[in-house]
C-alpha cells in the first residue's frame, strides 16, 4: 500500500466518522445552531445591511473579505483532486421543507440576500383534489419569506390549509455539477470549468459577467451576483469538501434528505444511496448527465 493510498483511507475514515457524528448531531446541534443564528439575525431587525455596505448580514463575508479570499485563496494541503469523484443525492421522501439548507447556504457562501438569487432552493409540489397538475412554489414567492426578515429567512406558508390536498412533497434543488455542463460549454472565456473531482467551478477573477452560462443552464442553477458582476452558482461548498467536510446544506439538513460523498468510495453515503435506491436525474433529455441523484420525485418535477 502506498503512502497515497494510506492518506485516502485515512481521509475516508475521517469522513465516515464525521458522517456518523453528523447524523447524530444534525437534527439537534447543527439545525439548532443555525436556527439560533437565524433568530439572532431576525432579532437584529434592520441589521441585514452590513456596515461595509455589503448586502448580507454581518456574519456573511463582506466585500473586502471576499476580495482578500479571491486574491489569496487558502492552500488546501493533502488534497488531490484526481482521487475523488464527488456526487450528491436528494432523498425527496425525507424532505420536510424546513429551508434550513437555503439559509445555511446563503450564510456560508455569501449569496445575495434576497429571494431572487440562490444557490440552492426547495420546491413545494402540491396536488389538490381533482387536479392532475401540481401547484409549485419556492422561496422566490414573497409569501414564503419570513415577514420582517428582509428576505434573509424563508418558511413555506400555510396557503393550502383550507384546501383538500391529495399529494404533497418537497424537492431540493441545487447545481447538478453535470458531466457535460452546458454552462462550461458556452462560457466565452473559460472562467467556468469542470474540476477533475466533479464540481463545476467559477474563476470569479476571470468571469466577464456576460450571463451566457445563466441562459444555458437547463436547471436555473446560475444567477448573476450583481454586487460582484460575475456569475454565481453552487459548487457543493468546494472550500469545505476539499477539507473533508460536508457541504453546508448537507451539514444542516435535519432529516438526511441531502446526501453527499465520494463515488470512488463504494461505502460513502452517496455511493450507498445510489446503489440502494432507484434514482433518477432531472431533465435527462438535455444530455447534461447531472451528478445530483434524486429518489422519490414525481412526473411534475422539472
Amino acid at each position: 500500500m502506498t503512502t497515497q493510498d494510506t492518506k485516502v483511507e485515512k481521509e475516508a475514515g475521517d469522513l465516515s466518522r464525521r458522517d456518523f457524528l453528523g447524523l447524530l448531531g444534525k437534527g439537534a446541534a447543527c439545525a439548532g445552531a443555525l436556527v439560533g443564528a437565524g433568530s439572532a439575525l431576525a432579532s437584529a431587525g434592520g441589521g441585514a445591511v452590513s456596515a461595509l455596505g455589503g448586502v448580507g448580514p454581518s456574519f456573511q463575508q463582506d466585500d473586502a473579505q471576499y476580495a482578500e479570499a479571491v486574491k489569496n485563496p487558502p492552500k488546501i494541503p493533502n488534497y488531490n483532486w484526481t482521487q475523488h469523484k464527488w456526487a450528491f443525492g436528494v432523498d425527496a421522501d425525507r424532505c420536510i421543507g424546513c429551508l434550513r439548507c437555503v439559509e445555511a447556504c446563503k450564510m456560508e457562501n455569501s449569496v445575495q440576500m434576497d429571494r431572487n438569487h440562490t444557490r440552492t432552493w426547495v420546491e413545494r409540489y402540491v396536488y389538490l383534489e381533482g387536479s392532475d397538475h401540481a401547484h409549485v412554489d419556492s422561496i422566490h414567492d414573497i409569501k414564503n419569506v419570513v415577514p420582517g426578515s428582509k428576505e434573509t429567512r424563508f418558511k413555506f406558508d400555510n396557503r393550502y390549509k383550507d384546501e383538500k390536498v391529495t399529494k404533497e412533497f418537497f424537492v431540493a434543488k441545487l447545481c447538478n455539477q453535470c458531466e457535460k455542463p452546458s454552462c462550461v460549454q458556452v462560457c466565452p472565456t473559460g472562467a467556468t470549468y469542470k474540476a477533475v473531482d466533479g464540481p463545476v467551478l467559477i474563476d470569479t477573477k476571470y468571469c466577464i459577467g456576460c450571463q451566457y452560462c445563466v441562459q444555458a443552464c437547463p436547471y436555473g442553477a446560475r444567477s448573476l451576483n450583481e454586487a460582484r458582476g460575475t456569475a454565481e452558482k453552487c459548487n457543493w461548498c468546494y472550500h469545505r469538501i476539499t477539507k473533508g467536510m460536508q457541504p453546508a446544506c448537507v451539514e444542516v439538513c435535519p432529516t438526511g434528505t441531502r446526501i453527499f460523498g465520494d463515488r470512488t468510495d463504494p461505502e460513502s453515503p452517496v455511493s450507498q444511496f445510489i446503489r440502494n435506491n432507484k434514482v433518477s436525474v432531472l431533465k435527462p433529455d438535455m444530455g447534461n448527465m447531472p451528478n445530483v441523484f434524486y429518489k422519490g420525485i414525481d412526473k411534475e418535477v422539472l
Binding site: N116, T118, V184, Q211, E226
Partner: protein
C-alpha cells in the same frame, strides 16, 4: 445597494426557478442583434452595386457602405454596457474558450470592422486624395493623413482601387451573412429555451437583418435627400422597393413557418408558449406582425401599380420604417420573450425595462442614436453625393479631374 440588486427582478406567474426571476439579458441584448442586422442589410445593398454591378444602386452604394461602417462601430457597444465586468471584455478575445458560441464574437466583429474600414478606404481613396489637394488648413492635413501616403489617381490606380474594393465586398457578403447568422446561432443553439432553440433561428436572424437593413437605408436615404434638398433617385428607390418587398415576403414566410412548426409539434410545454404569446409579449407580437403585414401590403400595392415619384418616396419611406419597427419588435420578442418563458415551461415572467441606468432604455436610445450622429459626421468627412446625377450638384461635387 438594494435598488441595484433588485432592478432586474421581473414579476412572475406560475412556476419559474427562483434565479430566473432576474432576467439575465436586458434590452441592450435586444438592440445588439438589431444593430448588427442593420449593418448586414446595408452592406448587402452596397454590394449589389459593388459586386454585381447593379447600376440602379450606384447612387447609394457608397452611402450604404458608410452607413454600414458607422453602425458596425457601435454593434459591440451594447454588449460592453451589459457585461458585469466590462473591463474584462477582452478576456474572451485573449483566451477564447472555443466551445463557446460567444468566444468568436470578438474575432468576427473585429474582422468585419477591419474589412469595412478597408473597403471604405479603397472606395473613397480618390475622394480623399482630391480633398487633400483642394482643402486648406487643418482639414488638408487630415485628408493627407487619410490618404496614407497614396495619392496616385491615375486611371490604373483607380482601377486597382475598384478591383480591391470589389474583392473586399465579395468577402464581405459571406462575412455579413456569417456575422448575422452567427448572432442567430448564439440564440438558436441554446437547448434550454424552447422559444430560442430552433434550427431556423440563424436563418430568421439573417433574413430579418437584411430586411431591416434595407428599411434603414430607405429611411436614411429619404431623410438625407430631404435634408440636402435633392431629389431621391427613382431607379435606386425602385430597386430598394424590390429588395424590401422580397425581404418582407421571405421574412414573414420563414417566421410564420417557424411558429407553425413549434405549435404543430406541440412538444411538452406548448401551453407555456401560448401563454407567452397571449401574455407578456402580446403587444410586441402585434407590432412585429402588424408592422410586417402592413409593410407587405403597402409594398405589394406599389409593386402592382408601379408607383413612381413622390408617392413612391413617401410610401416606401413608411414601409421602410414599418419594417425597422417590426424587426425591432421581433428582436424584443425573441430576446426578452425567450427569457419571459421559464425554463420550466410552466411559468411566465414580465420584464419591465428601466428608463435610466446602465442597462436602460436611455442607454439603448443613446447607443442607437450614436451611429446616426457618426454617419452625419462621416458624411461631412467623406461626402457621398448621389453618384449617379453629379451634374445637378456640381458645386458640391469633388470632381477629381478638376481638383488636380
Amino acid at each position: 445597494m438594494e435598488a441595484d440588486v433588485f432592478h432586474h427582478i421581473a414579476p412572475f406567474v406560475g412556476f419559474a426557478y427562483p434565479n430566473e426571476t432576474e432576467v439575465p439579458w436586458s434590452e441592450l441584448i435586444v438592440i445588439y442583434p438589431y444593430i448588427t442586422g442593420l449593418v448586414a442589410g446595408a452592406f448587402v445593398v452596397s454590394s449589389l452595386h459593388h459586386v454585381f454591378g447593379m447600376e440602379r444602386f450606384a447612387p447609394i452604394s457608397k452611402f450604404a457602405l458608410l452607413a454600414s461602417l458607422c453602425f458596425m462601430f457601435f454593434a459591440p457597444t451594447p454588449l460592453l454596457f451589459h457585461l458585469g465586468q466590462p473591463t474584462r471584455a477582452l478576456n474572451a478575445v485573449l483566451t477564447p474558450h472555443w466551445t463557446s458560441a460567444m468566444a468568436a464574437f470578438g474575432y468576427v466583429a473585429g474582422f468585419y470592422i477591419v474589412l469595412l474600414l478597408l473597403e471604405t478606404w479603397f472606395s473613397f481613396r480618390a475622394d480623399i486624395v482630391a480633398m487633400s489637394k483642394s482643402r486648406t488648413g487643418i482639414m488638408q492635413k487630415v485628408y493627407q493623413v487619410l490618404t496614407l501616403g497614396s495619392d496616385d489617381v491615375s486611371p490604373r490606380a483607380l482601377h486597382t482601387d475598384h478591383t480591391i474594393a470589389r474583392r473586399l465586398a465579395m468577402i464581405g457578403i459571406p462575412g455579413a451573412c456569417g456575422l448575422h447568422g452567427y448572432v442567430g446561432f448564439l440564440f438558436g443553439s441554446l437547448k434550454t429555451r424552447e422559444w430560442w432553440s430552433s434550427d431556423l433561428m440563424p436563418v430568421i436572424f439573417l433574413l430579418s437583418a437584411v430586411g431591416s437593413g434595407v428599411g434603414l437605408l430607405i429611411v436614411i436615404y429619404v431623410i438625407a435627400s430631404w435634408w440636402r434638398k435633392t431629389p431621391t433617385n427613382n431607379g435606386a428607390m425602385e430597386g430598394l422597393l424590390y429588395l424590401l418587398w422580397t425581404g418582407i415576403v421571405v421574412v414573414v414566410v420563414i417566421e410564420a413557418l417557424e411558429m407553425v412548426q413549434m405549435l404543430y409539434k406541440a412538444r411538452e410545454g406548448i401551453e407555456g408558449v401560448f401563454a407567452l404569446i397571449q401574455g407578456p409579449i402580446t403587444n410586441s407580437m402585434i407590432i412585429q406582425w402588424g408592422g410586417s403585414f402592413l409593410a407587405l401590403v403597402i409594398t405589394s400595392i406599389m409593386m402592382l401599380y408601379n408607383t413612381k415619384g413622390k408617392r413612391l418616396v413617401f410610401w416606401l419611406f413608411i414601409s421602410g420604417l414599418l419594417m425597422m419597427v417590426g424587426v425591432l419588435a421581433m428582436r424584443w420578442n425573441v430576446v426578452i420573450g425567450g427569457q419571459e418563458l421559464s425554463k420550466t415551461m410552466r411559468g411566465l415572467m414580465t420584464y419591465h425595462p428601466e428608463v435610466f441606468g446602465r442597462e436602460s432604455l436611455f442607454t439603448v436610445a443613446t447607443l442607437f442614436t450614436a451611429p446616426f450622429v457618426v454617419l452625419y459626421l462621416a458624411q461631412k468627412l467623406l461626402p457621398t453625393v448621389w453618384e449617379a446625377d453629379p451634374e445637378e450638384h456640381e458645386d458640391k461635387v469633388f470632381d477629381i479631374h478638376k481638383a488636380i
